[in-house]
């Protein structure tokens, strides 16, 4: 029997560009053409000024560790505890939930505000997750 897998996102018409982006190795955000607000999660209008004129762009993939927990129990399917559930503040402003890879899952190693960079992990041929690792240099 297969191991229980981690929860897999199912894109909607409004979020498809984001998941197409991660599959292509890009972290895509949206910017309002009217007021320049950069926002996440995806939607085809600006949550700041309500303009429907918005553009998708490739984000830098850089950010910093805003906050996290190290989950011990109960563990989600597909995860081996302890594992950190992090919120990353992107250089462009928005924050997103993710996991921190290539880093011990300990309070000592996970320092708030440490610089991070995006890494992509394919779950299958349709869905690739944006994860983050400590920034190199």
């Amino acid at each position: 029997m297969a191991e229980p897998a981690r929860a897999k996102p199912k894109p909607t018409p409004e979020t498809q560009h984001f998941w197409d982006g991660t599959k292509a190795g890009e972290l895509r955000l949206q910017r309002c053409d009217a007021c320049a607000n950069v926002y996440f999660p995806p939607r085809p209008f600006c949550p700041s000024c309500a303009s429907r004129k918005v553009s998708v762009f490739k984000a830098s993939g850089k950010g910093k560790l805003y906050s996290y927990v190290i989950n011990h129990r109960p563990a989600a399917p597909g995860f081996t505890p302890p594992y950190a559930i992090a919120v990353v503040e992107l250089d462009e402003g928005p924050r997103m939930m993710s996991n921190i890879i290539d880093c011990p899952q300990t309070p000592e190693a996970l320092e708030l505000d440490m610089p991070l960079e995006v890494a992509f992990e394919a779950l299958d041929d349709k869905i690739t997750l944006p994860l983050f690792r400590p920034a190199k240099g």
Partner: protein, 379 residues
């Protein structure tokens, strides 16, 4: 909304609290409702307004055998009942109904007749949070706390003291689930759940319920119990995704709902005799004290650690023991409201002497929603 136009005239919890393996969730609702109706000296046929959460109003109205002319199924998590009180007060004032019953119950421990929670993979939570290993409230609700601690200089020991102080209150409540005294060391040595929170900083998981009955202040004086008036109310929502809160340094929903209630009540913080802040986890009272404007965030941890909220302290907080020690069936807001009503009636097991104003502040989801009710026993 005008002050003191509506009053709580019936209030009760389920006959038992804790582990109730012989009742389904809807029967727990009914048990609480029948107890509240008896408390108010009413008949079921007197109820013409009905509100509940998670279970639908149609489900519970039919099960109870009532025919309402006003219903509210607002379901925004554990503070739904604060919102029901606010909406019911407005409905009574507007003449939409005369006597409102609000019920909550949850078979949180025994899981009898309780629908499992499910996050759809194409919801925003399902796409942008679930894939990263969130799995139930302990893995989500504490996510903001490390940032809150860093910004405001809050220590692990201060967050442990929240649990220690509330256990002191619980010891005075015969119906509290956990009554044995604990120390900061006990808290910091308890099993790790989701760093930085350990077992004793996470709420209990229990079965139970509660119900409230509201009517106009004019009618309230004819009821058997001392009326508890609605002095001020507030509500708001922010986001169902904890990762998308505007900031982790505070809760926007708290900062909208709390001050709205204070403004409506026309009181200042020094007028508050008794305070309930929904404590699903140990950081919530700190957010509440800061967001409701009792003190700067930097002082909240020290304020609790110094004993100001313990029995005999200057700001009695969570006097039933809270979700950490009294009970927590999943949506604790109803139990916070019950304790505020007991305190205003003067019948609480850990009664605050001469308490005249009680502030009851609730959270829904992971800082997703908030409701604040300010009660008084003086008109």
């Amino acid at each position: 909304m005008r002050r003191n136009q509506v009053a709580v005239v019936g209030a009760a919890e389920t006959t038992e609290l804790g582990v109730i393996p012989n009742m389904s969730q809807i029967q727990l609702h009914a048990d609480a409702a029948l107890n509240a109706i008896a408390d108010a000296g009413l008949k079921l046929s007197d109820i013409d307004g009905f509100a509940t959460a998670v279970e639908t109003p149609q489900q519970m109205a039919h099960y109870l055998g009532i025919t309402p002319t006003w219903v509210d199924g607002t379901s925004v998590g554990g503070c739904s009942f604060m919102l029901h009180v606010r909406h019911a007060a407005a409905a009574i004032e507007a003449g939409l109904c005369k006597t409102v019953l609000i019920t909550h119950a949850e078979s949180g421990k025994s899981m009898i007749g309780k629908q499992p929670r499910f996050t759809a993979p194409d919801s925003l939570n399902g796409q942008f949070e679930s894939p990263f290993g969130v799995y139930g409230p302990p893995s989500m609700f504490p996510i903001p706390v490390l940032r809150f601690m860093k910004t405001h200089g809050i220590t692990h020991e201060q967050l442990a003291m929240v649990a220690v102080v509330q256990r002191e209150w619980a010891a005075k409540n015969p119906r509290a689930t956990m009554k044995d005294p604990i120390t900061v060391a006990d808290v910091l040595n308890s099993r790790m759940i989701a760093y930085p929170f350990r077992l004793l900083q996470c709420c209990l998981v229990t079965d139970g319920g509660g119900a409230l009955i509201l009517t106009s202040a004019d009618r309230a004086k004819d009821f058997p119990r001392k009326p508890v008036y609605i002095l001020g109310t507030g509500e708001s929502v922010e986001t169902p995704m904890v990762s998308q809160m505007k900031t982790f340094d505070s809760s926007r929903a708290f900062k909208v709902a709390g001050p709205l209630a204070f403004k409506e009540a026309g009181i200042t913080h020094k007028d508050v005799d008794h305070l309930m802040i929904y404590d699903a986890f140990a950081h919530l009272p700190l957010y509440g004290l800061g967001d409701l404007g009792f003190m700067p965030y930097e002082e909240t941890g020290k304020f609790i650690a110094d004993g100001n909220t313990r029995p005999g302290g200057k700001l009695p907080l969570n006097t039933n023991g809270g979700g950490l020690s009294y009970m927590h069936s999943g949506m604790y807001g109803m139990y916070a409201l019950q304790e505020s009503v007991r305190q205003m009636r003067g019948i609480a097991p850990a009664q605050v002497p001469n308490a005249k104003i009680s502030v009851c502040h609730g959270v829904g989801g992971m800082f997703a929603a908030s409701g604040t009710i300010i009660f008084t026993n003086e008109k």
